[in-house]
Symmetry: C2
Subunit: 320 residues, 2 copies
């Protein structure tokens, strides 16, 4: 590629894995990750932004890969002290994680932008890539379920994704604004590719696209926009994507996942196990270029292989 | 004693030791500790009230007796995470301590009184005695030093008590109010004794007395008010009492310490090592009853012996 900048649009764990692969397969300083902040919420006066933290911890080698979330070598003494005081703590924040969240909350309180705070944290952690929150205004993912309305974490953590979702709304998104940094990344003439990570299409990708102008920027983007399926073999790798698709009467297939945001994609990567989906794509999304790869990302080599496949696919699409 | 309620007026570590001795030597539920809150301050958005916490941890057996402050089995991962992010953290909050402070701050933010929060924490920790903040309004100890003005913790922790103190002020004290609970304790007809703990007279006892009406209530109190010296053998057991006395050109003796708040005391306990001070007391404070005891409180039996001595002395004063 002559152009060399790459954007990854990402939610939490799955997106962080692919971001890590991308950062390893390219000059990491050319990678910008635009991160969902719809999951952000307040707990005991702390502003918690899980998808940014997952990226910070994963890209700096601080993530607990066994547990699948949070930091390695984490302890839980603060939350246990709350329980000792009779609190029903359903949102588990590790002690190290708490330290980071204390500082972020204190900086937000004195008027710093989430974008600047995230940049400083990434630098302090030695991350060469640029991590950008999707916007600096609060956006809150709200789930309308068959039995009532839920904040994201109330539904996700406290209710274990059990209530069936009828509608998803992003409170605050209509008045949010692309930051100068997100705009500059999207309109960078050196932009070679946009990778939409295998994150939940309803809860991780949709809130990013809900920031005014962002979806249109991806549609208009001269660089190829490549999606990676969050659905493999009729299931989601992680999280409630499959249950939500079923709840919306959407078949749990890569084709249907691609259809959810088909307008932004120039290319789409499905798992090699799902190559029987290819005729479906040809029939239902005839303008979308599709290829197969191993999307499971079980270890760093696998993350790098998927990242390489996405970069090569974008390169090929750019040359078409 | 026929009357059985006892009040202890206390700062941090020394006062907590004597409170623990009192709680063991009497029916703990008859003990009320009125605690200095002039050291309270904000760190990373958390409201930290060290003297209350020292009492909570000491009276519930959670204090780290070796370190002399904070909780036993404490970890420091949150503060270390802040340091990793480049913060110059000079105020060390353990992870368990942080959990308690998170909850207190969140409850204050929703309008709960410090008095109610402290009561709930004490109950959750199984403390039978009543712990009362000196008031529910913020009072902040300010030190005017030869080289400028300091907040208490800035002077105490960050500057290690080095700047020489010229004046101490309690910002907010003039508009503070005795809570209903403090008032009820002070005017309880069943009150048998008030023990002024061996805490720093300038930084721990003076702020309590600065709450409007509180000093007068102690002066008028029908129950004996017994002070315990914070000075032994020309030095303070702990903390900057001696340096401050020298800075104010006050001799570092038990007699001078007693003179600082002589108007409230009916009796005063000096250390048995300082019995050569007795003629000084007779000369300078002829109306004050004085006795000697071992005031060092090196272990629980020693705390109990001093508590017993104070209770017996008050009993004797009441019968005079």
């Amino acid at each position: 590629m002559s152009r060399k900048k790459v954007i990854a649009v990402s939610g939490g764990v799955g997106g962080a894995k692919l971001s890590q692969g991308l950062a390893a397969e390219m000059d990491a300083s050319d990678l910008t990750v635009i991160i969902n902040t719809g999951d952000d919420s307040w707990h005991y006066g702390l502003f918690v932004t899980p998808d940014i933290d997952t990226q910070l911890y994963t890209l700096s080698g601080r993530a607990d890969l066994d547990r699948g979330w949070g930091r390695s070598g984490e302890t839980w003494n603060a939350m246990n002290a709350l329980r000792e005081l009779g609190e029903d703590v359903w949102f588990n924040l590790g002690d190290k994680d708490l330290g980071l969240n204390l500082l972020r909350t204190a900086r937000l309180a004195r008027g710093d932008r989430l974008t600047d705070i995230t940049r400083d944290f990434a630098r302090a952690f030695g991350i060469a890539s640029t991590l950008l929150p999707m916007c600096d205004q609060p956006v809150s993912t709200q789930l309308r379920c068959t039995d009532g309305d839920y904040d994201f974490h109330d539904w996700f953590v406290a209710h274990k994704t059990k209530p069936e979702v009828r509608d998803v709304r992003f409170r605050g998104a209509e008045t949010a604004e692309m930051s100068g940094e997100v705009r500059a990344a999207l309109f960078d003439p050196d932009l070679a590719a946009v990778i939409i990570c295998p994150s939940n299409p309803y809860l991780s990708i949709a809130p990013v696209l809900a920031v005014p102008g962002l979806q249109q920027a991806l549609i208009d983007c001269p660089a190829p926009v490549v999606g990676v399926t969050p659905v493999v073999g009729g299931a989601a790798i992680k999280g409630p994507t499959a249950e939500m698709m079923r709840g919306f009467d959407v078949p749990v297939t890569a084709t249907s996942a691609a259809e959810l945001h088909a307008d932004i994609f120039d290319g789409y990567i499905i798992d090699e196990r799902d190559s029987d989906q290819l005729p479906d794509f040809t029939r239902r999304l005839p303008d979308l270029a599709v290829t197969t790869a191993d999307t499971m990302m079980v270890d760093l080599p696998a993350k790098r292989r998927l990242a390489r496949a996405a970069l090569d696919f974008a390169d090929e699409l750019a040359r078409r």
